[in-house]
Subunit: 343 residues, 3 copies
């Protein structure tokens, strides 16, 4: 018998002109569901493993009845809004399985952005295939099949549909803004990003789904899918963390704590705590590097990936010799207090 | 006698407070117009070479009459919307001439984005001078002369005009979304871009007007005006194709098929099929390069532009010597199937 | 006795659900206020040094009475709009002091963007602490404490709040568009930016508050807080001017007149007039550079910051030796006439 759900959520969906659900908004997804609530949700929904239902009036009433018994207390504040919508949804999964429907896929993305699951910790297999490519407009999400007629109709009335994105992933902030963050240009943080408390994502920053920051961070560079950045780190403007989805290497990149990747710099290997990459330098995984001691004496020539566990290194390209070298760094960077204490 | 128009379109225009047209939306522009339709359009419009008319009720009726004769069949689905608008427009050009009015300029830009004309194939002379600088807002396009009063009026009502762009070129997607594309941040693709079927433009990607991709491509870098990217190529995050409009060189850049320009890399010369630029390396046209054979033996020192027709080269900066070199590459890149099969 | 105010403005504010002002729009801020107007404003407001009042009906009438006496003539066109709003504000400062309230902070930012104060010329101490982190949406600014309920309410009605930014600084253009500028992606220019007449900020350009351009310029790179770019200069795509707020150095960066910073290049030191940084090269303040004469003969090895007053230098990384060098440049760049003459 099932004792505990991995996760569930009540949400509001949008349908296209064919009556298909194209996206779902879950204001308060929940993980680690207790036994009583688990039992009730499975009864009401008749779901067995993972899936979703569109809530009928009767089912919505059953949920409301449950509030009186003290169940789903944390959902009371949002359920009236959810059940007032045209398409109200209950999604759940008994175990963390690959998403096979749009409501399940959106549950996964919400879990990440609500900080209920860390990047690389949940099953996202097949996600791209499940998600629909949608026009995200100032009048909400519109399926591409419905877009031309919507655009023409708006124009005929003297209005204009403004389309922010044509993509499988929406902006995170249109679904949830986690506590203690600033995101200067929300179009650059996808739903499914995990943004730690105390993180500022500046205009040039970017965070893909299933990627993010552990805590306080200044992000003016790009965090590729799968990459997690440790607390106290700073990614300079246009800096790059090489991804594995397209074009990049196969080495899974990460950034430790208190690292600084300079403006226009980049890494193709995991960076240990306290490391600095000089502005403008791109260090790939297989790049050969002169490793120097604290006196500047050559110790060895190594590939970057082979010293990816060594902390407190500074990587730079010697401006006179042109070679790439790394040296131990005793000092450490510190983020600007004023910038980060007021999120 | 004129037998065939180069192109025509029915559209909906916006006027400023002076009654001047400031932009036009053409839902279905058309090229290679047949003899009968050509004759009819010239009759109805009284136009001789290139230009536009605002459709009167009588002219709109004449178009509708023509539908019954089987003319303009492809326009039937959009003409009701067009003619219902306040400012309905017919634009045409007998030959491909330089645009001299805003409706003509917008026709050119539409032809490119509807994939009816390839970049560098049509006459855009004087385009900048014809286009108006406009505030593109959540309430549609507003001429800058009308903006301050519109902003104040909105505020007085407790609303806010949100301005996405102050520019001569609007977002392509507010006019047309071609088939098989994803454009994660639509503010970075101008009307007049040519986006091939199967192209994904990620958040950091950018495509200017009169530029684009031939087919399947992953674009996380910047495609400057005049640059066309071949099928199967990948432009890494923040990568640059040097433009000729401002600041860059005079060498017209292009990217062949199956190329990879790494993150934060760039080119100032045409790149042949199958070439790779290492992440972080900017190769300008006149840059001297050590050309190596497959065994790493120096063949010659050449300028980048002098080997722009050589395929399957890898360009990199040697991390130990600091010099820029290129070597033959037998392997080839392949785009991620899952990412591109679901556009 | 106070004879002249440093500045004042009438504006429209937005309040959160607690009745606190979260931002203010000033359509026509004013500096160098004459004696009569100064006297009147101090009388009406009862303010002594710096601060704001919410205009009562009576106070608004007093302002209107003053128009009849010829006072505040420049404000007549906007005062009806301002006083029609729910929250009408008068802000003033006798001297240029650190902002301690949100209306004062917004006055400072407006002064910069209206070109009434140059970057680094006014007191912005404590600005970050005063400003509130706000969700900037297609329905105006919303305090983060009110956001979840607003998002749910919109969804329940089948609408979607689209959030452009979660930040302390709004887009400049939603407050003011100065004359003679194009800003292709307005999300990348903060209120408090100073954008000179004749400047084009392309999609990849960015301008922070208290930073900007003196006059004609082509900006495709990032202008960090505190950085001012001279007339006739061109910042290439993704180019970087190192900031001092976070992660960067302590050297205050600036860019002279007629400079060119190539695409993906960057500087960490002040650049003198007529200097060029080659595409892809990042020159930090302490970087050692081979300084060559016009014949390419080595003069000396210097740190970049030590030649920051030398004009007309070209900085490049020698592609064969790998070292960074600079040489005198007789030629000068010129911006594309057609691009800039039609703003």
């Amino acid at each position: 018998m099932i004792k505990e759900l991995h996760s569930y959520a009540f949400g509001i969906g949008t349908k296209n002109s064919n009556g298909e659900i194209i996206e779902v908004f879950y204001p308060r997804p929940k993980v680690d569901v207790n036994e009583l609530e688990t039992k009730r949700l499975l009864e009401i929904s008749s779901l067995k493993t993972a899936g979703f239902i569109e809530l009928s009036e009767r089912q919505a009433d059953q949920i409301r009845e449950s509030f009186k018994e003290g169940l789903f207390e944390d959902q009371a504040g949002i359920f009236d809004g959810v059940s007032a919508a045209k398409t109200s949804i209950l999604v759940l999964q008994v175990e963390d399985v690959a998403p096979t429907t749009i409501p399940e896929a959106y549950l996964k993305l919400h879990l990440l952005s609500h900080r209920l699951a860390k990047p690389n910790s949940i099953n996202l297999n097949g996600l791209f295939g499940v998600l629909k490519n949608i026009a995200w407009t100032n009048h909400g999400p519109i399926d591409l099949i419905d877009l031309p007629s919507s655009q023409l109709a708006a124009r005929a009335k003297g209005e204009m549909l403004s389309i922010d994105s044509v993509d499988k992933f929406p902006r995170m902030t249109n679904y949830f803004v986690p506590s203690g963050v600033r995101i200067a240009d929300t179009s650059r943080v996808r739903l499914g990003a995990y943004i730690g408390d105390g993180t500022t994502v500046m205009h040039e920053g970017f965070v893909n789904f299933n990627a993010g920051t552990e805590g306080v961070a200044m992000i003016e560079g790009r965090i590729s899918a799968g990459v997690l950045v440790g607390s106290g780190s700073d990614l300079g403007g246009s800096s790059s963390t090489m991804g594995t989805l397209s074009g990049g290497g196969t080495e899974l990149v990460s950034v430790g704590e208190n690292c600084l990747i300079g403006a226009n710099a980049g890494i193709g290997f995991p960076l240990a705590d306290g490391c600095t990459i000089e502005a403008g330098l791109y260090v790939t995984a297989g790049m050969k590097i002169n490793r120097l001691d604290e006196n500047g004496v050559l110790i060895e020539v190594v590939k970057a990936k082979d010293i990816s566990s060594v902390k407190n290194l500074v990587f730079r390209r010697n401006s006179l010799s042109g070679n790439v070298e790394c040296i131990p760094d005793a000092s450490s960077i510190s983020l600007n207090e004023e910038l980060h204490s007021h999120n």
